[in-house]
Amino acid sequence: MKGKPFTHLEKLEKSGQASLLPERIKISVGFASCGLAAGAQTVLDAFIKGIKKRKMDVQVQKAGCNGMCHQEPLVDVWIPGKVRLTYGKVTHDEVQAILAAIKLDTIPEGALLQTSLDPSADEPCCENVPDSKSHAFYCKQHRVALRNCGIIDPENIDEYVALGGYEGLATALSEKTSMQVINEVKKAGLRGRGGGGFSTGLKWKTCRKARGKQKYIICNADEGDPGAYMDRSILEGDPHAVIEGMLIAGYAVGASQGVIYVRDEYPLAIQRLEIAIEKARENGIIGDSVLKSDFSFDIRISRGAGAFVCGEETALIQSVEGECGEPQQRPPYPAVQGLYGCPTIINNVETLANVPALVKNGAKLFSAVGTETSKGTKVFSLVGKVNNVGLVEVPMGISLREIIFDIGGGIPGDKAFKAVQTGGPSGGCIPESLIDMPVDYDKLAETGSIMGSGGLIVMDEKTCMVDVALYFLRFLEDESCGKCTPCRVGVRRMREILEDICEGRGTIKDLALLEKLAGTIKDSALCGLGRTAPNPVLSTLKYFKDEYLAHIKDKKCPAGVCRELVKYSIDKKACIGCGACLKACPSAAVSGEKKKAHKINLKKCIKCGACSEICPVGAVLT
């Protein structure tokens, strides 16, 4: 372990190595929220029961999410000295098959991925199983913030230390001054991963220089964007990475107190953090004398209470202080005057998770990846109409096309790609013509969208872009704090107009009114929520105006989504009379004889679209 020898950490390192790479077979089950939702508890219980029944000497433990969420429940089988094999969509029966194979000293079949545990091996262990260099989902990824997720047991601090954890902190405390740490972070070009993209090093420098005996580090774990769960996965899979990041930040700016503001809707993340903080405290990593140095730092958790707006830093501070979360006009900026009026750093979870590796390995290595203005990697939650739904971490500069089609495996059902929404409710939709662009803070902003926190929602031909804009407006209207007129009333009015358009009451004048409202809200709203609220509308108007016009002029929804504008009917010529739609219809609106063209009774039709989905010849029209 580099840095000044911290002997008590060496003990943890040894114990962690033994736990991470035991001499007997180890089975780890993906136990983050996604895994649990898919049935990981059942799988874990089955392993424990099966191992006991067969009297096998096998270690079983939990791990975080490795990013392949579309394959949950995920299981890793660690064969000592040889290989780690990953299995996906594991069922109760498959658990038995895996155990049976292990009992016979053979390698269980059906592995998705192999990772060699033998540094001297030239050849892969299993012939037909790809490793991360050749696996389509992994080969283009570069996992830094997610380095430990899916590998370590997040409740075991020893394993974190065994993989180099707290080495960055040790290096900073023993070899660098606080200004040297700040300069390293600045040189590396780390920008805020929460969406703002502001220079982390510059923020730390401002806080360092600010007057005040008491300073704070706040980790913003409010993660509010719908569909985004990057921070959740890091907190559930590698909470110590965030703790270490906060400690380094505290050392750099001269803060002695840390607060992790976690949204209340993340109970597992809160639980894992509580365990991690306790373990860190037990081992002298948090407290009066961090790693036996002069530096003191304590961390507490502050829970959110159901407000997206509390992800905005000034509203977050209000919430921590016990007030109602309402943004405040800046200046003063929190780095100068924040929590309880003291200089405060607010950094996103992913930003902090990058810090330990950055300090441990140096700025040069960090900035070797990425583009000119966007260094390093970015974690994206790849969701929506995409085959390989999951969490991916890629170098900045990779194209959206590569993420969606190479890593993501393209659009399911061979449907056509339509757009990808980035940046959540503050972002915009990017059409196919632009998806070869490199992922980069500034390039994305040029399209009218933003990087945002990393949500990537893929949309296909069956997505109505007007409906997408309406969805985000409804969300923002619900989450607006209500303090400023442009957001409180303006977003509400925009939503009303979009609703009219989607329900067939829109007029052509509405488009001009939308643009005018969007302009005012963008210019005059008090905080980022309001100022970026018009983005989904503006970007869909920019690239998909024809859909708006179809809704307004023709009173039609081309994608067949907006219920009021959709009239289902069966093409008499195309229908083969198979009766699938008749069986699928929940309201008995379809009638017809075998092998004869079927009909839909519009009076009974509830427009669920089941007939359209199930028709083998595409004879259902909207």
């Binding site: 006009q329 209207e477 442009p486 409180r488 009333v489 210019d523 005059s524 008090l526």
Partner: protein
Amino acid sequence: MVTLKIDEVQVQVPEGATLLQAAQKIGVWIPTLCHHDSLTPTGGCRLCVVEINRGGVSHVVSSCVYKAEEGLTVLTATEKIRGIRACIIELLLSEAPEAKVIQDLARDLGVKPVKRFAPRNELCIACGRCVRACSELVGMSAIGFANRGYEKLAVSPFYEKAEDCIGCGTCAEICPTGAIKLIDIEEGETAVAHDGTKVQGPARIIQNWKVNLKLKTCKECGETFAPENQLAYFSKEAGLSKDFYDICRHCRT
């Protein structure tokens, strides 16, 4: 002292003064709604926004909150600002079309109502002057805000009778739209409270906070002049004798 430029005119203000105060010093009119000189500014209505230039980038900020900076350039009536003001008034008009102060501002700024939206049926525009006044000027914090977003309203705690209200009427006085309904009834008169019960005079009824408080009657002239609760609070705060307010101020002289 801090020197800055407002609409090309140089002005000097003490450290800590806001852009609004600087503009007022040189007679530049900036419309306001949620602002009041006696209250902590909040920058919510966004009517007082101005354009400032910081590091070559133009920013739109609430002048009632933004503190004056040395060498700052402020523009109060650019096309962008005028467009924003007009749109904000349009939005407020759509929210509370009956509010006279908004109608007046609309007339002054040449704004016509947009007849496309259903109003909120409330005069309250969530400016927060009543809440801030009750907290900062009166010291009772008897009322607050409920709900988020468009439904945000100034209300009594849990929509029930505001227990800490002393009936001083500062809220009604300071409300810009007249959203707070305060009536005084005399001896012998009756009124109906929010819950349908009859209230006997002399009383002050503030419907919004579900409050009805007995008014004090002067021992000398028999006039009612203030709620008993308010006088009790004042006596306590100022250390006055219990019978100090038995006589109204007219009879005292």
